[in-house]
């Protein structure tokens, strides 16, 4: 049931993004101009293809951010701030967010990290050095 709701929400988001995309489209002034991106690329179709994929990825990233607890309005703005290349990287947001996290509280890991700290392999405990 919740899965179904999540899917509906995601679908609605993607639709909303489609309409948003259509109204923005490419500025008229840019039509016909050869961009740096086009000039540097080898295939003419590549750029157009990327645009469609980037926009689908943007909706997807936005939906993922919301599901990970980000405020929906901010999620939209955050997804909109990513370039095409970054969107491709963001496909899996589970990647590796950093924050000085707490390592699993297992005593084994504690002892191991203490020793690896001493030999300079890791740097978890400030008091070691």
């Amino acid at each position: 049931m919740t899965h179904w709701k999540a899917m509906m929400r995601r679908g609605a988001l993607i639709l909303a993004a489609v309409f948003g995309f259509m109204s923005v489209a490419v500025p008229v002034a840019q039509a016909g101009m050869i961009s740096v991106e086009r000039h540097a690329a080898t295939g003419a179709e590549a750029a157009a293809q990327d645009k469609v994929q980037a926009f689908l990825a943007r909706a997807e990233v936005e939906a993922q951010l919301i599901s990970l607890g980000v405020d929906p309005q901010l999620a939209r703005e955050r997804a909109a701030a990513l370039s095409g290349a970054e969107l491709a990287q963001a496909a899996d947001l589970a990647d590796r967010p950093a924050g000085a996290g707490v390592v699993g509280a297992l005593a084994f890991i504690f002892v191991l990290l203490l020793i690896t700290d001493i030999i300079g392999l890791t740097n978890v405990f400030t008091f070691v050095r």
Binding site: P27, M33, V36, R78, L93, D95, P97, A98, T116, N123
Partner: protein
């Protein structure tokens, strides 16, 4: 008790095996170079998990952006994951009017950036590959003689870390490092292709004045690369500065008479101003060198002709 000793010996053996890898790649710290430290880089003590917002606020404030970690956090943190993604540090840097560049993953490059006054935001894995503890910090100093790296990190305004320890923790995060610079400034260690990518990202997001400044600086550093002059002229055109764009395209054509893009874009600009004769003459010239851009130039030629005749579409 003997059992405990055995376990400890086993652990020691495991650690000794690990330490064989810990020597890692050779240090790339420049030998004999003087110590360097950007003491004026601001410091924000990190709240729980907020090393990303703190580190970014430090490098951004250094370049004159008035922003705090608290203001950045809602746009950087992912609540369910207690952290910040690298790509979002990059994206928010752009959103706040600074240009993000990745720096090569060696301390020699970091040293060069520091020498140019650019503090370097880095990602570390402080723990182990299979039990990671990701952490962002800002390198503000390097002391080659004492083999020390000086960081703004977590709650420590001046954390001094042994260079080998730093390299080990940094290597487990793929030696990711970035600088955030005002649009007219370029990193010392950057490659032309990277600058092009940074500028293209700015164009995609319609940050035209920033793109213009990046292209302008890149064209001065690499005058032999036509692409930067093209980008500069395009950015001016995109902002409606037609006279300035025209001047820039003419400079480009004079310097690179074989480059078809400048002919195409200038012809298009002239056609918008209904200067049909000049536009047609230019596109004819451009078609001589059209190469892989022939389709685009022929399209422009058709548009000029139908525009002139008032028969487009």
């Amino acid at each position: 008790m003997p059992q405990g000793v055995g376990a400890r010996l086993g652990l020691l053996a495991a650690v000794l095996l690990l330490s064989a890898c810990a020597s890692g790649p050779p240090l790339t710290l420049p030998a004999g170079a003087p110590a360097i430290e950007l003491t004026e880089v601001p410091f924000f003590p990190q709240e729980d998990y907020h090393c990303g917002p703190a580190a970014l606020a430090e490098v951004l404030q250094w370049t004159g952006v008035d922003v705090t970690p608290a203001a950045l956090a809602p746009r950087l943190m992912i609540p369910a994951r207690y952290g910040t993604l690298q790509i979002e540090l990059v994206a928010q840097t752009r959103a706040l009017g600074r240009v993000p560049y990745q720096v090569p993953g060696d301390l020699g490059a970091v040293y060069q950036e520091l020498a140019a006054g650019h503090p370097v935001l880095i990602l570390q894995n402080l723990a182990l590959d299979w039990s990671p503890m990701w952490h962002y910090a800002v390198v503000v100093g390097l002391d080659p003689a004492r083999r020390e790296v000086i960081l703004r990190s977590g709650r420590e305004p001046r954390r001094v870390v042994d260079a080998t320890v730093f390299e080990n923790t940094w290597a487990r995060a793929d030696k990711w490092a970035m600088v955030a610079l005002p649009p007219a400034a370029l990193p010392v260690t950057v490659e032309p292709a990277q600058v092009r990518q940074a500028a293209i990202a700015l164009e995609q997001l319609q940050h035209w004045p920033m793109a213009e400044a990046v292209y302008h600086s890149a064209a001065r550093r690499w005058p032999d690369q036509a692409i930067f002059q093209l980008g500069y002229a395009n950015a001016r055109y995109a902002q409606g500065a037609y006279a300035e764009a025209e001047a820039a395209y003419r400079v480009l054509i004079a310097a690179f008479p074989q480059d078809p893009a400048a002919y195409n874009n200038l012809a298009w600009l002239l056609a918008r101003q209904q200067r049909w004769d000049e536009a047609e003459a230019l596109i004819d010239q451009g078609l001589i060198h059209a190469g892989p851009l022939r389709d685009e130039l022929e399209h422009t030629q058709r548009q000029i002709r139908c525009g002139r005749a008032g028969t487009c579409r």
